[in-house]
Symmetry: C4
Subunit: 215 residues, 4 copies
């Protein structure tokens, strides 16, 4: 059973590994950080998700597991998914995303920490904004919400649900001092969103007067 | 017909893919950004151009298409060229360039945004300026024009034409908050210009007191 | 004898070379800098350690040697270990580490120089802290001690011993203007600690108002 | 003749290509910048040198040529050496270097421009200084001279000669707004010096309050 299930998704496992490897090569999954999912089916909702603690630069098909909408392992699975599996399930369910990608970068960490007290920040005036689905001009304003970080994943899932309800058409948000969640209608689109957001975050970070680190 | 046409340009497709791959590996085509052309013939003007939305890090010969001087697909082509195809055609026609390359970098985005109100900036005193064709000494001054960004490509094409007429010997310009267009008498020269400009932009960016990002 | 000894540890040599190569590719072993060890046995304590002056980006099994607890070469070895071999031995003995890794980065050099007079600094509020063993929440505070750099390795070993006694559960420290020592219960954990610390150091460094370089 | 000469130095050509490729991969030879030599014989002095305008990331044995002490092509050579060939010859003759390496980096460009009016700057207090031959402690002070850049290579050669006479034991200097020249008793040592200087330059650059770029 397990073998058939896995064989059935082999091409998807390969695709997700390739994309995660490309993101890891850009320094966005340091220290086994980040987690990544691909939607396998909608009814019931089943996601292919990176296992906890695996090296994202050298990901193989066996480093992925199948989880349900609450992040719980599929019946045929062994091993533990990432603690944030439930966030992937919630985002995939509410947005219809084909893929949810979560990365850590220095720029997204610093910006999310800096703007957490204000609940987010707005990117505007950049051509690269057009890489976000639905944006047709650099004159658009894209609000990037920042949620306070929490280890209480059920509570965080609820906040994400509220956030998504309040911002239709949202394609990404930050957790304060933690990182970016973004998604897309396809794996390639989700990957493009990571690169676009991170490019714009680096632009913003180089212009941001961060609070001095006191040590 | 299509097959013969393509076979006829196979070596050029390979060369352009190789150069674009090298630029993409340096982080200058994030999120499928940037577009790149090689002049195939002058009369009539025909360019080999990257298709819209393709991954520049893993470009293959089929990711390129042939367009005419206005950026319109050649009769034998299917698919949509980049919206900026017309700029490539105009630049190739007016400068005689063998290749036009357009990249996005954090440094060129920030500098173009910062200096757009002044219409450009001047690089001087750097040895690397000698990498730009026609420059024989670090004592040269190279003006880098910045045009206001626009989604109105016909209007932008007209402004580029005016710019090129006003600055004979120009090898590159910026679009505000958008990126670099540069070109050369050969594909290798155009690539060298990208690397030279981007090196000098990074030097300038590290010295520029950018306006604080307010979020 | 030597051949058997080496054969007995061939898999470990390969693993350590792979990890060091990955760290070197991130720019943390410039100019043959850094040194790296893997614990082979506890009683007596024997470590596999990088030889002095070898290129960490292209490390091969023969670039490693076996040393005892004081950093002295094992009887069957020829060649000179790194001057800091004794630090590896002391840390492995006192912490039970399976691997001790020492890297140089621009961020760890600058932070260690800046905070040496205060004896260290504290990282807090970052999700990535959870990549350090035993940390379960971003709300943790992790103190990173900075010891004054010294060429007197026996004295430095004594200071490290005092430091480890004073900070149970410590997973890393800095030497001022010199670099990071970190370790783990496995080679993979030690590598993860390098990436986590360096990520957080870069976050901190981008926020630190360093003393201007007077030249 | 040419074929025999080349065969005689094939291993050296391969070694120099490998080292230059490693330096190019770190971004220090952008836009075909930089030039690199290996001493083939002392009496008469003959150097293997990179040809002008070749891509340093993809260097092959045929991209190197043999030059004499004044940078003139060896009798059996065709093609043009780099304009700075004479500097390589002068440095190799006066220091006995086995290899002279010249790289452009953003950090060395900015520092050399900033400190040119003062004639240089001093690095002190960093462990990585020990990567420079003859330095045994981080407490050393290493003066990095900066010569004003010039397109008059004979005059510059004379200034380099004066500089070397005034600073015995010097292993590198900068040309203002231009880049680093460093050398070593072996190719590996020269490469190590590049990496050590560039690491320390990046440390210094991140602490330097550069003059704002006015554009």
């Amino acid at each position: 059973m397990v073998t058939l299930e896995r064989d059935a998704h082999f091409a998807q496992r390969e695709s997700l590994c390739r994309v995660v490897g490309e993101l890891g090569a850009q320094g966005w999954c340091q220290g086994t950080g980040g987690n990544f999912s691909l939607t396998l089916s909608r009814d019931p909702l089943r996601l292919l998700l990176t296992r906890s603690g695996v090296d994202k630069r050298n990901l193989g098909p066996a480093d992925l597991m199948i989880v349900g909408p609450g992040g719980e392992p599929a019946p045929e699975e062994t091993g533990r998914p990432s603690a944030e599996a439930a966030l992937h399930g919630r985002i995939a369910a509410l947005t219809g995303a084909a893929s949810v990608l979560h990365v850590h970068s220095v720029a997204n960490t610093l910006l999310s920490e800096h703007f957490a007290p204000r609940g987010g920040f707005t990117l505007r005036g950049y051509e690269m904004l057009k890489g976000i689905r639905g944006i047709a001009t650099h004159e658009a304003s894209v609000f990037v919400p920042v949620l306070a970080n929490s280890q209480d994943i059920p509570r965080l899932s609820g906040e994400v649900e509220t956030l998504l309800a309040a911002h239709p058409g949202l394609w990404g948000f930050l957790l304060g001092g933690h990182g970016l969640y973004t998604w897309g209608g396809s794996l390639e689109e989700a990957k493009r969103h990571v690169e676009i957001f991170e490019f714009l975050f680096e632009c913003a970070a180089r212009r941001t007067p961060f609070h001095p680190f006191a040590g």
